[in-house]
Subunit: 468 residues, 2 copies
């Protein structure tokens, strides 16, 4: 049966919640008195409709129905979940909760608040047991973390229902067992924010320099392992106890302006070390290094494909390493190592990646005939219309390979290549690709004759192949 | 001409530096009196040789020559760069610098220290002008950030030479203009470390919960944009001034135990806002959102391919959404949205990704004949030996597509499919793929007959197709 979420407050956060539920097949009822609410929520929803389905390699459920309610009572009555994301004012939240519980005493209520503890939210409520914090992170339609924070007055069964329900829409409920100001993640972020303000205030670094210091280094580590598992690797085989012992003294040093530090007692060292063992002890340091490196390589290659952040740095560096191949037959069009993100469930290179490496080889052939990046920018290109790939041997991550390419047909709009993928270590031919490309106008997206200078080079290469 | 780096101290950090230079074609001379140095450095180098080349879509230069020197003088004389990564003891570093400068007064020296400022390193040096901090991040062979910190006594020309040289091996030199304890990145990390210790100390969260709070939320944001650009988006069209005004009061709240905060004066607000404008003002908030979402999608999909972190969460959620297709002809084997990381320089889906979606479709056909994940785990599978793809229309990110698959041949070891990629909105056939697979033993990696129950289902599907 289709479930229903009530969204009270439809800004960027409420809109993100609405999108997360809708795109997972829930019906959503929104209450927000702002006359601009529908437009604002629509903008968030546009982003989400584009983004969230891209995470999945299968279709999401059919989208639920979105309705705007004219009252809180209309929005919440009978809903399976009520998510409150109104302005961070406690009196306002209390009024909203009273209205929800008066309309539907059974309503399960989560608050998106970062500023208030659940016990504060529950003050004066008709039924405190059904109120908790469910704190998301922007963009709510992509990031999975939800801090689920009950107070002692919250019904444990309500917390379990909440966790099941959030998991069912792809979220990760992190059960915060003790309520504290700002929960967990915002405490960590706030620490960095305060130190960042000092760095700008003292003219040590600009906002951009601080962002670069984060995203080109520990930001990438934290995006896949977080803080403690990363430091466990730094401790090496000697382990977490050793690491803390080694770096503990730095706590007394002015390495941040934020100087309130806990005493690093034997008990605290032992607590951290044993929690770290429970978290990561099933993996050796070498295993953790391999896992970290695989994650970092895949993430940085992903950013490279997007042309952003650390991926942009790799693209820039790569430009200094590449040279357009000499027109020859065969032509050396690829020489590279197979990266970890190209393998699949069979443990070898996915067949799609053969298509990619031959596509990359074809780009080099194009560059050699004058159809390079500048040419593409000028509005012309070659598009592939047919490929036949023969898979002759398995290819694995870490193997060094090359591609040799021949132009086998080159008249008019046609550019036909025969590529061979070769293992560098022993010369084994691992796959071949017969690829037919046609010259196109990028404006009309239709085929057209190439200009004389390109046609001449294509013909020259085709003639070279006949002499092979 | 091949350049030479001298590495003084060959542990995890020194080894990472050695690998970065070697794999970029430099010769490397290492001095480390530890009798285990060669083994330890070899382990780092093994990781690096596997990992670093995977970032690039072309070959790195031929690896340089690695030699172990028996003295500092032998290692550094005539080297283009000297990188010091010895134990964090100032007296030891001073002795090392004295020995370097006595052997080669022209040596350019960078120190990997996080604990000392360059002016401290320079105390008592024969030539302070050629000493600076060049602080890397583990793993040095993958992460690009190097904090380059001169003191006022460092020769500005030496700093420029250093930056050029680091960039040439794919690193990102962040010039820290004012020396401070722990430079920039470690100040931010140390703030989080201190707050993290409090959270464990006070039994608010375990190390694993803290890591999850980071890697499922702001860690992913910081890995691509850092702190300030992310917060700029949170400020919305109203901008950074508005954002700081809104969240500034939180600085007075106990949102972290680390309570030393700068006064948020008008001057500081203005400084942050104008630096943020200089950094990101050329992009609208909508542009920044799209950029952020593209990066997050690509990174999370990369982690999904690795089966780790937030990518593991998506895989688990996806399992609840997928069903094995009913054996039919045609069979609906794919229904999905084209993600942003599948496009290429022509702005449309890369031809390799057609291979991937047809490979995914083939996995569904395999599941339908009983060759599912469990079957693969039991040691048998189907491998593709030949595909012919016809590209009929361009496919773009965000488009919803489906694949219909038919088994066109199914005797003995053979499983032949004809797949059609179809645009969901209008039914246009965008590509077709004729795919021949053979049944294999994953132990011998050779073809073999499938068991009776699989063969029967393959034959059934092939017969259905004849009836089409």
């Amino acid at each position: 049966m289709t479930r229903t979420a009530a969204i009270i407050g439809g800004g960027v956060i409420g809109g993100g919640w609405a999108a997360r539920f809708l795109l997972n097949g829930w019906n959503v009822r929104v209450f927000d008195p702002d006359p601009q609410a529908e437009r604002k929520l629509g903008e968030v929803l546009d982003n989400a409709r584009r983004a969230l389905p891209m995470l999945y390699d299968c279709a999401l459920p059919d989208e639920g129905t979105l309705t705007f309610s004219s009252s809180i009572a209309e929005a919440v009555t009978g809903a399976d979940w009520v998510q409150e994301s109104v302005t961070e004012r406690l009196d306002l939240k209390h009024r909203v909760f009273a209205e929800i519980q008066s309309a539907d005493p059974a309503a399960l209520i989560g608050s998106s608040t970062s500023g208030f503890k659940p016990s504060e939210l529950q003050q004066g409520a008709a039924d405190p047991s059904r109120i908790m914090v469910t704190h998301p992170f922007n963009p709510v339609y992509l990031l999975p973390l939800i801090e689920v924070v009950p107070s002692p007055a919250t019904d444990p069964a309500a917390v379990e229902t909440c966790k099941t329900l959030l998991s069912s829409v792809g979220l990760y409920p992190l059960h915060v067992r003790k309520e504290i100001d700002a929960h967990i993640a915002d405490r960590l972020m706030e620490a960095v924010w305060r130190e960042g303000l000092w760095l700008v205030n003292d003219d040590i670094a600009t906002t951009e320099e601080i962002d670069n210091a984060i995203r080109y280094a520990f930001g990438l580590r934290w995006g896949q392992m977080g803080l403690f598992e990363t430091f466990r690797i730094a401790g090496g085989e000697a382990g977490m106890r050793h690491f803390i012992g080694q770096f503990g003294p730095a706590l007394a040093w002015p390495w941040t302006k934020l100087m309130d530090v806990p005493d690093l007692t034997d008990d605290l060292v032992e607590k951290i070390a044993s929690q770290s063992d429970a978290q990561s002890g099933h993996l050796s340091i070498r295993d953790l290094e391999r896992k970290r490196d695989g994650n970092l390589i895949a993430m940085m290659r992903a950013l490279k494909q997007q042309g952003n952040a650390s991926g942009r740095l790799i693209l820039d560096h790569q430009k200094t390493l590449r040279a357009t191949p000499d027109p020859a037959s065969p032509m050396l069009t690829q020489s590279r190592v197979i990266p970890v993100d190209w393998t699949d469930m069979n443990g070898h290179m996915n067949e799609g990646r053969y298509g990619q490496i031959f596509s990359d080889a074809a780009e080099e052939v194009m560059a050699a005939v004058g159809a390079d990046d500048d040419y593409v920018a000028s509005g012309f290109s070659y598009f592939t219309v047919e490929t036949t790939v023969k898979y002759l041997a398995e290819t694995h991550a870490g193997e060094r390979v090359k591609v040799l390419s021949r132009v086998t047909e080159g008249g008019g709009k046609k550019l036909r290549c025969l590529h061979e993928l070769i293992r560098a270590s022993d010369g084994t031919v691992m796959a071949t690709c017969d690829q037919l490309m046609l010259h196109v106008s990028l404006e009309t997206r239709r085929t057209c004759e190439p200009p004389e200078h390109v046609a001449a080079r294509v013909a020259h290469l085709a003639a070279l192949n006949e002499g092979d």
